[in-house]
Every structure is written in C-alpha cells, then in structure tokens.
C-alpha cells in the first residue's frame, strides 16, 4: 500500500469555474511555479477571433510570455496546453485533442505537439481554455486544478512521489482520487526521468480506461516539451472536473453536431472494416502499406522496404492488441484507433519482470524504433515503446536518433570504444535498449544520444573525428528536430512538407507523398506549392480546434470519388464546417477555416524569425531525405536512379562512374528543392528569404506592432 499523504500546499488560489459557452470558457489559467502566482486571464475577442484556440492560443500566450532571447531552460519559457473550441465534443470522432507548446530544447523555436487523452477537454470542463506554466520551482511540485473544490494549488511532491509516468499515475490516483468515479474525472500530464536527462522529453497525457479500469497514456511527443516540464520541477499537471455529459462543451446547436456525427459514425462502421481497419489495427496498418510502396524507413532512411516487414506489420499487431475491440482516446470516437497490449512482461531495465500496459505501438513507433533501426522483433518494439513512454522520451526522436547512430556504427566511424562498449549495429536490440536505459539515467553513451542528432553531429565530428559532411548528409534532422518516419527521396513535395514545416520535420503539417510520388497529381513546382499551401493550412486547423486529423482521411465513403477534389475529401471538410459552426454558433465556410490557419501559421513563422531561426537557411534538409547518399544506397535502387539520369538529364548511366552518378543526382535534386522553396514562398506571400511580406501580414490581420517589428528587421 502506498502512503497516503496530506500534500503540502505551496500556493493556492480559489476560483469559480467559468461556465463553458459555445466551446469556450473565456479565460485561461496562468501558474508560475517560481513565485506561486496563480491567476486567471481573460480571452480577448481578438485572441478568440484571430487565434481560435488550441495551437493558436498556445502560440499567442507563449509569444507574450517570453522574450526574444529566451532559451528553453530559462524560467520564462512556458508550457502552454489548450484543446480548442471543439475539444470535448463527444458526438463526432476525434474531438478530444490537446495541443502543447513551448520553446523547444531541440530547436530553440516554438514547438507544438498534440496528444489524445482527457486532459485538454477536462481542463475546459474545469473552466479554462488553456493553461500556461511558467517559472522553475524550488522543489518538486504538482499543479492541481480542482474544479469540484474550486481551487488551483501548487502542491509539494513528497520524496516518494515517482517520476516515471506509469508509477506516477498510480501514485496520483492513490493520493488524489477517493473513488472510482474520481479517477474517471481526473486527468494529468507528466513526463519521466528520461525527460530530465535528454532534450527529447515527451509529455504523457493520461486517460482513465473505463473498460480496463486502469490508466493509459497518449503522448505529445515532439520537440522536448517533457524536458521543459521536468526542468521546471513539475511532476504533473492534474485536473479534476465535475461529472459531465454529452453537452459539456455547451455547443450552440447540439442537434446539428449530433446529426453530422451520426452520419460520420455510420460511415466509419460501414467502411473502416474494408479500408484501413483503424478500429482493429490502428495506425499500425500503415507499416505494410509503406513497405509496399518503398516508403518505410529502413536502416536510417537508406531504404524503403525490407523482407522482414511482415514480422511487424498490422496483421501482427492486431493479434497482439489484447482487448480485440475498438479503443478510443476520447469519448465518442468511433474510429477508435488507440489500441494497447495488456499484461506485457518487461524483460529489461528497472522494471524487468513487471507486467504493464503498453499503449500502441503506433505506426511512427513501429517504424522509428523498429524498421529504421533494423529491428523486426515485436517484443523489442513493445519494450522500447513502454520505456520511452514511462521515461518521457519521444519514440520518434529516439528511433531516428538511434538509426543515425547505428549507421555511423555500421560505417565503422563510430566504435565500441566511443559508445562505452555498446555494439550499436543495425538490429542489435539489446544494445538499443541498454542505450535507452542509459538515456533515462543520464549515463554513458545514452547521455550523448539524448541530446538529439543536431548536437550529436559536432560531438561526433570533434570528439571522434567523424567526417562532418557524412554526418550532415545522414543525420535526419531539420531545424534540430528529428524526422518522423517516412522516406521522401522520390517525393519532392514531401521534402518540402518536412523542410518547410514550422516546428521541424513532423508529418502532421503535410503528407503529400502519394499525391506527388504515386498519383503524379503535382507534376509542376506550382502544383506542389499549391498543395504545400492548402494541406498545411487545412491540417493546422485541426490543431486550432481540438480535433484529431485521422477521421478526416483514414475512412472515406467511396462516394468521395465523384467529387471535384477527392484528395481533399470534401464531404468530410463539410462535416468539420458543420461541427465548428454547431459548436461556436458561427457561420464559417470552408474557406474561412483555411483563413483561420493562415493567420496562425504565418504568426508561427514570424515567431520562429523572432527567435532567430525562421529564415530560408533554416528550411534546409539533410541530403539523405533528398537523394541517395552512398553507393550502396544507389545500388539498391539502381534501375530507378539510372532511369532518372536518362529521363531528367538525358545522360547515359552506362558511361558514368558511381561517383559521377551520385554527384549528378545530388546537384539535380538539391536544385529542385531550392526551386520548390521559391515556388512555395511565392504562394504563401513570403519573400525569397522566407519572411511573410508586409502585405501578407496585413491581409491576414496579424499586423500587430510587435509582429511588424520582427519582420521589418529582415525586409
């Protein structure tokens, strides 16, 4: 039995939970763990109309919370979390997302990262549209937002309060939840020891699984926000809300939402079983598809497929997921892709022998810590998945970082002497796990690995004498963030999707590989630029409102084929217009939704510039994402690459050496990327250096003096 504590109150502020109206509470919560300041801040009309919610609120609040020179570990850096006006809706699938933001330890610019789980919606139900956490506490603390008690508290975390999430969750339940009902109405955000010792810490967002009667976690993985949380000495943000029903978000027109939702639920029930099977396989269905189209990252993105992929594809995971029923991360989501493996017995590390729930694994984790590291063992993927989550380490940055290290090791430039004895050849699962445990402990080679690829490169070059050009070519990071798990060599549009993404190379901004590479729907630079305008804006909108994007495109009635623009899935776009209007009482059009995103997206770009990292040079990507770096890589797809020399350049590959072929590909592909950037900047209303033009900023209505001050320095 755990000791039940009376937790010491370090600071406290009473509050009357604001009534939700049309998706908003009209106030945000500010908590400073340095000085104990706890205060409510009103949501202005401008903030609501221009920034909408979610990622928009996060960025607006963060902008005003920090200075131009703020570093990730400065006290004024903030963690901001918001859902959005539609977050907490239970009538339409995927309407419970939370979006977190902070100045990233990896990139030095704002990072936004979304997660399922209950925290964001519960925060709104408890009376707050967003929470800002600033400062660095003198001791370990827990922030408790307690709506039933009408108070916000900063509590001292006692010495026996765990840090790693799976233990902390049970501890919090014991300390703060009297009954089963309490557990259902409580949600929290936490990280782990790995967040303390690496720059790639993730946030875990809890949900109480009523079927399992246990806690589960979804991750806001990208960019190291967990690292920021632990640097602030915050163990957890906890919210308790009142019992709620299906109208908790107080929409303007519940019937309008319910009707739209009912149509979508029928569509999911009819088509998911014969399409992506999200309800039975979740995103793991993608593994085999990506392999089939030569897009699955294998061995640090060198290759796109592998004969052993069937060992880790969706068919395997469907058998491993234990409940064999749809698993949602928010109430009312019929897409229900959030599967888990119960009673997994850990084989390594500090919890070896314990039986745990492993959330997922999802596609990005399977591809990142699996195929990209040459690991095709489901048990190992589960083990890494669990430990990354409980340690608070992003599985994508871990996987892509480990793949980079493994390629250096296989190339013979990184040796056992340099890794502290670890044999980090591709596929060496034991060493990968040992490195992960070292990362969490801040020990050995794991400490270097935890710094991320951008910081590993100079360490490897200067301390180990490894060729810097090789490291720059194969190190799959941009802006300091590790790439997510798709091979982009044959999709110029997706190279732009990654390179131009505001936060760094994460796929949630644009995923154009099939439109470009397979469908050939974007043959010109202008076509690609148009897609790199519309789709990032459309996908940004989900994060403004608290939506998951998967129900938009992962199950689709075939009637969509008869529409003018099937790749946009117009009838789902119309659904979102209905839900947004039904919640907020607005009468927005589909074009208005894009306009909402354009404001926030351009604001984020200018935020990057303000922090010194938002210009053209910062949109550069490693050559591994553009074309073949090594002779072995070229040889593996020689027919394709040789044909391209003929088709693109009129060359005769038979007369060329490998070095000549690689060189011609590099010049050609790099030049195409630069031309793409020119086209995209022009479409977005940016200068050739990637700065939003004055007219663009004025047209969008974000021409605030402090915004103009940033861009005028560069124009």
């Amino acid at each position: 039995m755990m000791t039940r504590h009376t937790l010491k109150v370090l600071a406290e502020a009473p509050y009357e939970p604001a009534a939700l109206q049309r998706g908003y509470t009209g106030q945000t919560l500010y908590v400073n763990v340095s000085d104990g300041c706890i205060t409510a801040r009103p949501v202005s009309v401008n903030m609501r109309e221009t920034f909408i919610g979610g990622r928009g609120f996060d960025l607006w609040l963060l902008w005003h919370g920090i200075r131009d020179t703020t570093q990730w570990d400065d006290p004024e850096n903030e963690i901001v979390i918001a859902s959005g006006p539609c977050g907490g809706t239970t009538q339409y699938p995927g309407s419970g997302k939370s979006i977190a933001a902070a100045i990233s330890p990896l990139t030095g610019i704002p990072i936004d990262s979304n997660a399922g789980g209950h925290f964001g919606p519960y925060l709104k139900f408890a009376g707050w549209d967003a929470i800002e956490v600033q400062g660095i506490a003198e001791q370990e603390v827990i922030i408790l937002i307690n709506a039933p008690a009408g108070k916000v508290q900063i509590l001292a975390a006692p010495d026996d309060c765990p840090t790693n999430t799976h233990l902390l969750g049970h501890w919090l339940n014991e300390q703060l939840a009297e009954t089963e009902e309490d557990r259902k109405l409580m949600a929290f955000v936490s990280a782990g020891h790995g967040s303390e010792h690496t720059l790639m810490g993730c946030l875990n967002f809890s949900l109480y699984d009523r079927k399992r009667k246990d806690l589960r976690y979804k991750q806001a993985g990208r960019g190291g926000i967990g690292t920021v949380l632990r640097h602030k000495r915050v163990k957890a943000l906890v919210v308790r809300t009142h019992p709620f029903g299906g109208d908790a978000n107080r929409p303007a027109d519940l019937n309008r939402i319910a009707m739209t939702g009912a149509d979508m639920h029928r569509e999911v029930a009819r088509w998911d079983p014969v399409q992506n099977r999200m309800r039975s396989r979740g995103t793991s269905f993608l593994v085999q598809i990506m392999d089939d189209y030569d897009l699955l990252p294998v061995k640090n993105f060198q290759y796109g497929s592998h004969p052993e992929t069937p060992k880790i594809n969706g068919e395997i995971w469907e058998k491993r997921y234990t409940q064999h029923m749809p698993d949602g991360c928010w109430f009312g989501c019929t897409v229900a892709c959030a599967h888990a493996v119960d009673n997994y017995k850990l084989q390594t590390g500090p919890y070896a022998g314990s039986c745990v729930i492993v959330d997922g694994p999802e596609y990005e984790t399977i591809a990142g810590v699996g195929s990209n590291c040459g690991i095709f063992e489901p048990e190992v993927i589960l083990e890494i998945n669990f430990y990354c989550d409980t340690y608070g380490i992003d599985t994508i940055s871990f996987g892509t970082g480990m793949a980079f290290v493994m390629e250096c090791f296989e190339a013979g430039v990184l040796t056992r002497e340099m890794t502290g004895g670890l044999d980090l050849a591709f596929g060496n699962a034991n060493s990968a796990l040992e490195a992960l445990h070292q990362m969490a402990a801040g020990e050995g080679f794991g400490k270097i690995l935890g710094q991320g690829i951008r910081r590993m490169k100079p360490i490897f070059a200067e301390s180990f004498g490894i060729d810097r050009q090789f490291l720059d070519d194969i190190g799959m990071e941009a802006k300091g963030l590790e790439f997510s798990e798709y091979v982009t060599k044959e999709s110029l549009a997706q190279q732009g999707g990654y390179g131009l993404a505001n936060k760094g190379p994460q796929h949630d901004e644009a995923w154009l590989i099939f439109m470009d590479q397979v469908n050939n729907q974007l043959p010109t630079f202008e076509d690609k630029a148009e897609a790199l305008h519309y789709f990032p804006m459309w996908r940004t909108w989900f994060g403004l409102c608290g939506f998951c994007k998967l129900p938009w495109n992962d199950v689709v009635d075939p009637k969509n084929a008869t529409t003018d623009e099937p790749t946009k899935i117009p009838h789902h776009v119309a659904n979102y217009v209905e839900i947004y209007n039904g919640v907020t009482g607005a009468e927005a059009t589909a074009d208005d939704l894009i306009r909402m995103s354009e404001r926030v997206y351009n604001f984020q770009r200018i935020f990057n510039i303000r922090m010194g990292h938002g210009l053209r040079d910062h949109d550069a990507i490693p050559y591994r994402s553009v074309g073949p770096v090594t002779a072995a890589e070229y040889a593996s797809r020689q027919e394709r690459y040789d044909r391209q020399l003929v088709d693109w350049l009129g060359l005769d590959p038979a007369t060329m050496t490998m070095e000549e072929k690689l060189a011609r590909h590099r010049v050609t592909r790099t030049d195409r990327y630069e031309k793409l950037i020119d086209a995209v900047y022009a479409r977005r209303g940016w200068t050739s250096q990637g700065i939003p033009m004055l007219q663009t900023v004025r047209d969008l209505g974000i021409d605030y003096p402090e915004v103009l001050e940033v861009i005028q320095k560069h124009l």
């Binding site: 089939d292 798709y486 590989i513 439109m515 469908n519 050939n520 998967l550 689709v556 075939p558 099937p566």
Partner: protein, 66 residues
C-alpha cells in the same frame, strides 16, 4: 501499352482488368479511385472491368498520412 497516372507505361494484354493492374503495380492501399480514359470505375467492379489497350488510367490513392 497503357499509361498510369500520365507517367508510367505498363504492358497491356487482352482481358486485363483493373484488379489485375492494381496487383501488378503492387497498389495495395485500400482507398483507391480508378478512372479509365476519364470515366470513373466503381470500386466494386474492379474485378470485372477490362482495361482497353492504350488507355489513360488514373489510380488515385486517397492517402494523406498520419
């Protein structure tokens, strides 16, 4: 020969169906829209729909990523 997505040339044979073409191309993604010379092919007739020689075949994958 037939043309796929205005780019790839694929050998044709008499009796070639849409389903056969998708298998040949290893187009395994389940959400696909197919048209032949501008005419949409209903998704439930791929097995029976023949592809004429010299057709302009469009195979649009409705994949937009995670």
């Amino acid at each position: 020969m037939i043309t796929i997505n205005q780019r790839d040339r694929v050998a044709w044979h008499a009796g070639m169906t849409v389903a056969e073409l998708l298998a040949t191309m290893a187009y395994t993604y389940p959400q696909i829209i197919v048209s032949i010379d501008g005419v949409l092919v209903p998704y439930d007739t791929y097995d029976q729909t023949p592809i004429p020689d010299e057709s302009d075949v469009r195979v649009i994958h409705l994949m937009a990523g995670g």
